[in-house]
């Protein structure tokens, strides 16, 4: 129960949630709710693992995962943007489709080993006491990428012109349309970005955080936790990153609790009966619900965060929003 180890593991597993949740933030900011993350993530994890297996290059794997999940999400885009289908049902279909494709195409990958994304120390920074070993030592490149990606996404959404357009079409698509912003095209683009990032999250699992292909167990619901994280983070990439890391650290803490005989001077019940660990395994899901309750209350109180046009189709020239 070394805090450095827990933090270190939290940053690594949290990176998965970070990519997936920020991807969803981009899609939702443009007004498209994509509940297919779990499916796209699993599809990405399979694509990355399978590509690295056949080509020997983990980077090709990451690229293929992002493209594969991105193109899968375009299907959701087509159905919701052009056919104006219900975004909830379409997202669920995408989860089924992605999961099915991943399981069918991933047949036979279980138990294989492949080239993984390399890990390394960052010189100088890793020498800082406590912070160094947790943040800058022996992490995969993807984890370091996450440190940079979250603030950059925040800056992009809040401080740049394309970011302003993105927020505009998620809040008032009709107004954005009259200003000459291509609402349909932009939404397709961000749905693709969201899919590609879910694919990256999947690749982060299968090629770095917990390497391997374990069919549906590979993602085990993390895509859904990412969806919840978006609400908790109130559509802010920085809060999403923080929440992801926190969640990752808690997961590690839960694992660690199963080991020692004594906890805070008491006999650890898990030491006597390991079946109690089923209750411990519930905690991430219970925590997600609790986090969601707080997140939803904050959103309801401030009437802020949630993009106004989220979930609504935009039909050009038909009705103002």
């Amino acid at each position: 129960m070394n805090p450095v180890i827990i933090l270190h593991a939290g940053l690594a597993t949290g990176t998965v949630l970070l990519f997936a949740a920020i991807g969803e933030i981009f899609a939702e900011r443009s007004g498209i709710l994509n509940l297919g993350i779990e499916g796209m993530m699993l599809f990405g994890a399979m694509a990355a693992f399978s590509t690295s297996f056949s080509t020997g290059s983990p980077w090709t794997g990451v690229l293929v995962a992002m493209l594969a999940a991105g193109f899968l999400s375009i299907l959701h885009g087509l159905v919701t943007i052009h056919f104006q289908a219900d975004q909830v049902v379409s997202g669920l279909s995408l989860t089924f489709l992605g999961t099915g494709l991943a399981l069918v195409l991933g047949e036979g990958l279980t138990g294989q080993t492949v080239a993984l994304i390399p890990s390394f120390d960052i010189p100088l920074l890793s020498a800082i006491p406590f912070i160094g070993p947790a943040f800058f030592e022996d992490h995969s490149i993807l984890v370091y990428a996450g440190y940079v990606f979250a603030p950059l996404s925040w800056y992009y959404i809040h401080k740049t012109r394309p970011g302003m357009h993105l927020r505009a079409i998620g809040e008032k698509p009709a107004a954005a349309d009259t200003l000459g912003i291509d609402v349909y095209g932009t939404r397709y683009f961000y749905v693709f970005v969201g899919g590609a990032l879910a694919g990256l999250a999947g690749a982060t699992i299968s090629l770095s955080v917990s390497p391997g292909w374990y069919s549906a167990q590979t993602t085990s619901g993390q895509g859904w936790i990412a969806v919840a994280l978006v609400i908790f983070a109130q559509w802010n990439p920085l809060r999403a990153a923080l929440g992801g890391y926190l969640f990752g650290a808690l997961r590690r803490l839960i694992l660690d609790l199963q080991g020692p005989k004594l906890l805070l001077g008491f006999v650890n019940p898990l030491y006597i009966n390991s079946n109690y660990s089923f209750f411990l395994k519930m905690t991430p899901f219970i925590l997600t619900i609790v986090a969601l309750i707080f997140g939803s209350r904050a959103v309801a109180k401030k009437r802020a965060g949630s993009p106004s046009a989220l979930g609504l189709p935009f039909i050009r020239g038909e009705r103002g929003m």
Binding site: L35, G39, L75, L78, V79, F83, Q84, A85, D86, V88, V89, S90, L92, S93, L94, T95, F96, L97, G98, T99, G100, L101, A102, L103, V104, L105, G106, E107, S215, G221, W224, V227, A228, I231, N273, N275, Y276, F278, F279, K281, M282, F285, I286, T288, I289, L292, I293, S296, R297, V299, A300
Partner: protein
């Protein structure tokens, strides 16, 4: 004279069109699924033939299909009621497990003596199954009504929690000699099966169809009655179609959210009870191959019509029976995903029509 496609908004929808799009979606999905299966080196035609044999082959296999269809009917109805109100209960899987747990309590605690008459034992199991299912629906319903918490995520999280909860009991308290399952229930806790009457009627020998299928049909009638004939159903539909109008009409939306979620959960819980009492006869791991999720598609494919749900469930029951044999295992998920995608895409045909017009006519 160039021909041109013209897309126009429909003023009214022909009666046959929704049915046609549903059937068309399934056929198209099967074709696409077949192409994918071929692409990865399977034999789609053999699989297809097997599928039809599994549904219509003989009494025994048709009964297998019906056994798989039974939980789907009940779960599909559970989803349909919630979806009518645009309440996204994605937690039928967890409510199914919760119901199975509640029903098992009756036998394994035991809540009623095992030498009571069958009616009492089965009745108690039904009540407990529905109670636990309703409880599992209550949490997300209450949280949505009270704190506006997104029910999609809470119901999903509760799926994982229900499965882990069940695991604790079958690994620990109720484990049968260290195995990951409870002891087999006493005969008194089994739903009657047609095979039980094989001595009197030869034709029933080996037919595993159980009483649960009648629960499904009764539930379909009940849901139809609620939605079409009762005041509550009117409220549910109004909230679903136009929540603003419902609020102005003085309907208590928050209370209805909790109630509908509980009702939906109770039905899914009954499905869980029917499955362990009619088929598995014990509590164990993976009692559901995703019934809770397939129920979502069943409800949607049936356009939330209770009687159509029965028909669609039989089709999907066949898919599950066939899926046990067709490798790889993910195929049935894949097929379900494609069917759902086809279906929601085809809905656009209900709103728009495509006409072929001559370009000159257009110019004139």
């Amino acid at each position: 004279m160039a021909l041109q496609l013209k897309v126009e908004k429909r003023v009214d929808v022909p009666k046959w069109l929704p049915l046609a799009t549903s059937i068309g979606s399934v056929i198209l999905a099967f074709i696409i699924g077949g192409v994918i299966l071929k692409f990865i080196g399977g034999q789609p035609l053999v699989a297809m033939k097997f599928f039809f044999q599994a549904v219509f082959g003989s009494w025994a296999v048709f009964s297998d299909t019906m056994v798989k269809a039974t939980p789907l009917i009940i779960v599909g109805l559970a989803c349909a009621v919630a979806f009518k109100m645009r309440l996204w209960n994605i937690g039928a899987e967890g409510q199914f497990y919760a119901g199975a747990f509640g029903a098992s309590m009756v036998v394994l605690v035991p809540l009623v003596p095992m030498d009571s008459p069958k009616v009492i034992v089965i009745g108690a199991m039904m009540v407990m199954g529905m109670l636990f299912g309703a409880l599992w629906g209550f949490f997300p319903g209450y949280l949505k009504a009270k704190f506006h918490v997104n029910e999609i995520i809470t119901t999903l999280m509760l799926n994982y929690i229900a499965i882990l909860w069940n695991n604790f009991w079958i690994f620990d308290k109720w484990s049968d000699g260290g195995f990951q399952m409870s002891p087999t229930f006493d005969r008194v806790a089994w739903l009657p099966r047609l095979a039980d009457y094989a001595r009197e009627y030869k034709i029933f020998s080996g037919v595993t169809l159980h009483l649960g299928v009648l629960f499904g049909i009764a539930a379909a009638v009940l849901v139809w009655w609620i939605l079409q004939k009762s005041r509550w159903g009117y409220e549910i539909k109004l909230i679903g179609d136009n929540p603003k109008a419902a609020r102005y009409a003085g309907i208590n939306i928050a209370r209805n959210i909790t109630l509908v979620m509980m009702f939906s959960g109770a039905l899914a819980g009954l499905a869980g009870m029917s499955e362990i009492s009619g088929v598995v006869h014990r509590l164990q791991e993976s009692i559901s191959p995703g019934y809770g999720f397939t129920g979502i598609i069943v409800a949607w494919l049936a356009k939330l019509n209770p009687f159509a749900i029965i028909i669609v469930s039989i089709l999907f029951g066949g898919l599950i029976v066939a899926g046990r044999e067709i490798q790889p295992a993910g195929l049935s998920f894949l097929l379900q995903g494609i069917i759902l995608f086809m279906l929601i895409s085809s809905d656009v045909l209900l709103r728009y029509r495509i006409r072929i017009v001559r370009a000159q006519e257009e110019a004139a």
